[in-house]
């Protein structure tokens, strides 16, 4: 089949990202030709400021080198500016006469700096700040000239000013507005910023209107004259007063434009063969100038160019970050505050900290942080996920309080960490290595960082820190999507919520059926998506979907916990932590018979036999003659109890029996992540109910239920859920909550994270408000559990399952050979 012809005009980040996405989806659909006006391959434009500041070199910020174009058979026309599009002939022509025909055209011409229409704007030494040529020109000028004036106190202007100052020039920033960064900051934060930049030696004139640029007599600028008559010397004038979508070419060829090329939600222009993307495009009236939205557009545009036709771009909430080393500044959403909004402000001008949060209808809609931006990513997530924050309003200002509190010396501010400090305690990755990888490989998401450096790829406790480092390094371009919006893995573009929904609505009951229906891009998924799919199937369609052991992690296949040397640990169930002499005797006998190297009491009130060979597992289970403790699964683990009213002089309720009953009821329950319960007999809480997924505390008048507690990576106290009177109520409410969690949570989402995502209100509505609904949830859990049996017994009873545990002897075979 003859390939279609795709021509791209413009060779920048948004356009090339679209090609990358397209090549992933449909590598052979098009012959691709790219026209670039610059003599360079695609580079990371947002890192021009670090280049100017001398922190990086141009070579380091190249994203796609010439080899990339060659490897993908892309015809690259550098140094050629397209001057016309003939839409009838479907032909583009460049300034040197080169032509190219197209079936699909992608316009990605970006933007131009806005040059003030004042006398002297064409003098030598007057430039915009847009590309590597401008940057190089500034670097050259700094060597030979002294006075620089930057017009515009926005992000770009300040970064340019900072860089020129570091290169040794005297820099004055002229700004029309009343304060700096008026699109990113409010007045207070803007003044704090100005103060700290003045401390670094930058000068500011604002509000000030530029009237004219003066000639030194040789065609070069020598001074700036203002409307009020003031004049200051200037050997270099950088115009950073904003950008304008570069839509001239499209306009000349008759494509509808209005401050940008008009595009619909598929990034298509009024000519259906022509797409536009990036800073030149105007989507629902907005031309985005930040990288993160452009990458979202790229994904959607590629989806349509690849003729898949289902993705849709609906606009983006954006965040910004000033890339001036040592200055901490973050803003997102509608931080200015408008009618109908409420603001919470923390202001410490002496300490150099200012934070403002804007709330509308109990939802965080904007944040503006100066001096301490550690929680920027967290606020941004709250804004994007539309969380109801009414319940956390009183401590919202204090952020996520601990980004991760184990494994990195309690450090929770990435900015202040030295480069050689370890961020990821599991894989030994330092901050410097992460920053380097982000810059050199052009990374924009935490997932990219994980893949490239392994940081945050094991326990994940440092993911918040990694996210901060990412935001600090690439600013507003950081793609910090919440899990609810992220694709499940590289095998699909769909997120967990979409997949759960499809499985339920389409009645999908097997992994192959789900992968086919959902257009999986790999033949049998990967180690990330298969376990998730398997859980979604069996939890949504109990009794119908068949469990797939090959899609489970080894622990859930071997029904034991793999150890570093490949041996296993075996934890038999002790209901409610209660045992007896004959169980203990059998455990002791097993320890002797199988030479168990370590016998240890666990935190969940039972006994762990460590160092057992896989071949011995069935024998151990048989000799123990106790049920599986599921100490290895994304499943019910234990119900921890205290001795309660039976023995304890303080006990108010029989917590031990309550725990035993709950553990029996939940036996064999698979769940999105591990589930731990505890029952204490009085508020002294000896069973530690406060840090369990469901924690129950007996009081004289009944039982209090707490949910969403967690004692792991990040200690989380459970939240009070409900108080009930009887043991039957405890059972019904606990099981109903757990079923809701099983049905709605994403795979590997603990109850605390599920709760943070959907909100306590939602859970209360689902479980507490309607008795019928609660009973139905309870019933559904019991129905689901009716198909499960003790996995150890099952393995012993079915010889074909036992095969997994036998090794094939080779020694005698070899003698034959």
């Amino acid at each position: 089949m003859k390939k279609l012809k795709l021509v791209m005009v413009g060779n920048g980040m948004a356009g090339v990202r679209t090609l990358e996405e397209l090549l992933k989806l449909a590598p052979d659909l098009y012959d691709i030709t790219v026209f670039g006006a610059e003599p360079h391959p695609n580079y990371n434009r947002i890192l021009l400021s670090p280049v100017l500041a001398g922190e990086q070199t141009f070579e380091e910020i190249v994203l796609n080198d010439l080899n990339w174009y060659a490897e993908n058979n892309i015809q690259l026309m550098l140094n050629r500016k397209v001057v016309s599009i003939d839409r009838k002939k479907r032909l583009v022509t460049a300034d040197d006469g080169t032509t190219a025909e197209y079936d699909r055209l992608l316009i990605a011409t970006g933007s131009n700096p806005f040059i003030l229409p004042i006398p002297g704007k064409d003098l030598a030494g007057v430039i915009g700040y847009r590309d590597i040529a401008d940057t190089q020109m500034m670097m050259e000028t700094a060597k030979t000239h002294k006075h620089a004036v930057v017009i515009g106190g926005g992000l770009l202007g300040l970064e340019a000013a900072n860089g020129l100052k570091l290169r040794g020039m005297e820099v004055t920033v002229v700004h029309l507005g009343d304060w700096l960064l008026e699109r990113q900051l409010d007045a207070t934060a803007g003044r704090l910023l100005q103060q700290s930049l003045e401390d670094r030696g930058l000068k500011f004139l604002l509000p000030k209107l530029t009237a004219e640029l003066l000639d030194n007599g040789e065609g070069r600028v020598c001074a700036v004259k203002f409307k009020d008559g003031d004049v200051i010397p200037a050997d270099l004038v950088v115009m950073a007063a904003g950008i304008r979508p570069n839509s001239d070419l499209a306009e000349q060829s008759g494509i509808a434009c209005n401050r940008g090329i008009l595009v619909n939600d598929t990034l298509q222009t009024f000519d259906p063969r022509v797409y536009a993307i990036g800073e030149c495009a105007s989507h629902r009236g907005i031309a985005y100038g930040l990288v993160a939205p452009l990458f979202e557009q790229a994904k959607v545009c590629a989806n349509h160019l690849a003729q898949l036709g289902f993705a849709r771009y609906q606009g983006s909430v954006t965040s910004t970050k000033l890339k001036v080393t040592g200055i901490d500044l973050f803003s997102a959403g509608e931080f200015m505050g408008a009618e109908g909004t409420e603001t919470i402000t923390l202001s410490d001008p002496i300490g150099g900290v200012y934070k403002k949060l804007v709330i509308k209808d109990d939802v965080l809609v904007g944040a503006c942080l100066y001096g301490d931006t550690a929680d920027g990513g967290w606020y941004f997530r709250q804004i994007r996920e539309n969380h109801n924050v009414s319940e956390i309003r009183d401590h919202l200002m204090f952020g996520e309080n601990a980004i991760g509190d184990t494994g990195h010396q309690g450090q929770n501010k990435a900015m202040s960490m030295p480069d050689d400090m370890e961020v990821c305690g599991c894989n030994g990755v330092c901050k410097g290595a992460i920053v380097k990888a982000i810059q050199e490989h052009g990374l924009f998401s935490v997932d990219d960082v994980k893949k490239q450096t392994k940081a945050a790829s094991s326990c994940g406790s440092c993911a918040g820190l990694v996210e901060q480092i990412l935001i600090n390094t690439v600013g507003g371009a950081a793609d910090v999507k919440p899990k609810s919006e992220k694709a499940i893995c590289g095998c699909s573009d769909l997120n967990h919520g979409q997949i759960r929904k499809a499985i339920r609505e389409q009645h999908l009951i097997s992994i192959p059926a789900a992968m086919t229906f959902l257009n999986w891009s790999t033949p049998n998924g990967c180690a990330t998506c298969r376990p998730a799919l398997n859980y979604y199937l069996i939890s949504t369609w109990p009794g119908e979907a068949k469990d797939d052991p090959q899609s489970r992690f080894i622990n859930e296949r071997a029904h034991a916990n793999i150890q570093k040397d490949g041996t296993y640990s075996v934890v038999p169930r002790m209901w409610g932590g209660v045992t007896n002499a004959s169980e203990l005797r059998r455990i002791a006998d097993v320890a002797d018979k199988y030479n168990v190297p370590m016998v240890k009491v666990t935190g969940g009130q039972r006994i762990d036999l460590l160092g057992i060979k896989k071949d011995d597992l069935p024998g151990v289970w048989k000799d123990l003659d106790m049920p599986s403790g599921h100490a290895y699964g994304k499943s019910i683990r234990t119900v921890k109890t205290c001795v309660g009213s039976e023995f304890c002089r303080f006990g108010t309720q029989n917590s031990t029996q309550m725990g035993i009953d709950l553990e029996h009821a939940l036996f064999n329950m698979w769940s999105p992540h591990k589930v731990k319960l505890a029952v204490s007999g009085c508020p002294r809480n000896c069973a530690e109910s406060g840090i369990k997924d469901v924690g129950i505390i007996g009081v004289d008048s009944g039982w209090e239920l707490y949910i969403g507690g967690n004692g792991g990576i990040k200690t989380e106290a459970g939240e009070f859920f409900v108080k009930v009177k009887t043991a039957e109520d405890v059972m019904e409410y606990s099981l109903a909550f757990l079923q809701l969690y099983r049905e709605e949570a994403f795979y590997l989402e603990r109850t605390v994270h599920y709760m943070q995502r959907v909100g306590m209100e939602h859970i209360k509505k689902g479980v507490l408000e309607n008795a019928e609904q609660r009973k139905a949830l309870h019933e559904r859990l019991l129905f689901s559990l009716s198909f499960e049996q003790d996995p150890w017994k099952e393995q012993l009873a079915k010889p074909q399952l036992k095969k997994e545990f036998d090794r094939i002897a080779l020694l005698e075979l070899e003698t034959h050979a």
Binding site: K451, Q452, T453, K454, S457, S458, T522, P523, N524, G525, C526, A527, R530, P531, P549, Q550, S551, R552, F553, I554, N555, R557, A558, I562, K564, D565, G566, K614, K803, E804, R807, I808, A809, L810, L811, L813, E814, A817
Partner: protein, 111 residues
């Protein structure tokens, strides 16, 4: 090549693996979804994890200890990880799984 008869193909689950007790330690024998078989020493180049216990997809296995991904046909770790598991020749003939042991010194074992 010295081919050794191991077992019936259907004694290994699709997307599953078995362990062969080899003369110099365990060997993992993998079966892919399309019934190809591959044999690697049952030791991850990272920290010696038993690859036979990993999750298999496409032509890769994810080590059960720290999720290193290993290419079944070459034994090579997928970037950014670096390392190589020792490889043996394996094939299916008339429904039987055969392997030919490769000495560590054989250069073909690791690229």
């Amino acid at each position: 090549m010295n081919w050794l008869d191991i077992c019936d193909l259907n004694e290994i689950n699709p997307l599953g693996a078995r362990i062969i007790a080899g003369p110099k330690g365990d060997i993992a024998i993998f079966r892919t979804a399309d019934d190809q078989v591959f044999a690697l020493d049952d030791r991850c180049p990272h920290k010696g994890g038993p690859l036979s216990q990993g999750l298999i997809y496409g032509k890769r296995v994810a080590c059960p200890l720290h999720s290193w991904q290993i290419e079944l046909d070459s034994g090579e770790a997928v970037a950014p990880d670096q390392g190589c598991a020792h490889r043996h020749e394996a094939k299916v003939e008339n429904g039987r799984v055969l392997i030919a042991l490769q000495n560590v010194a054989t250069p073909a074992a690791c690229a």
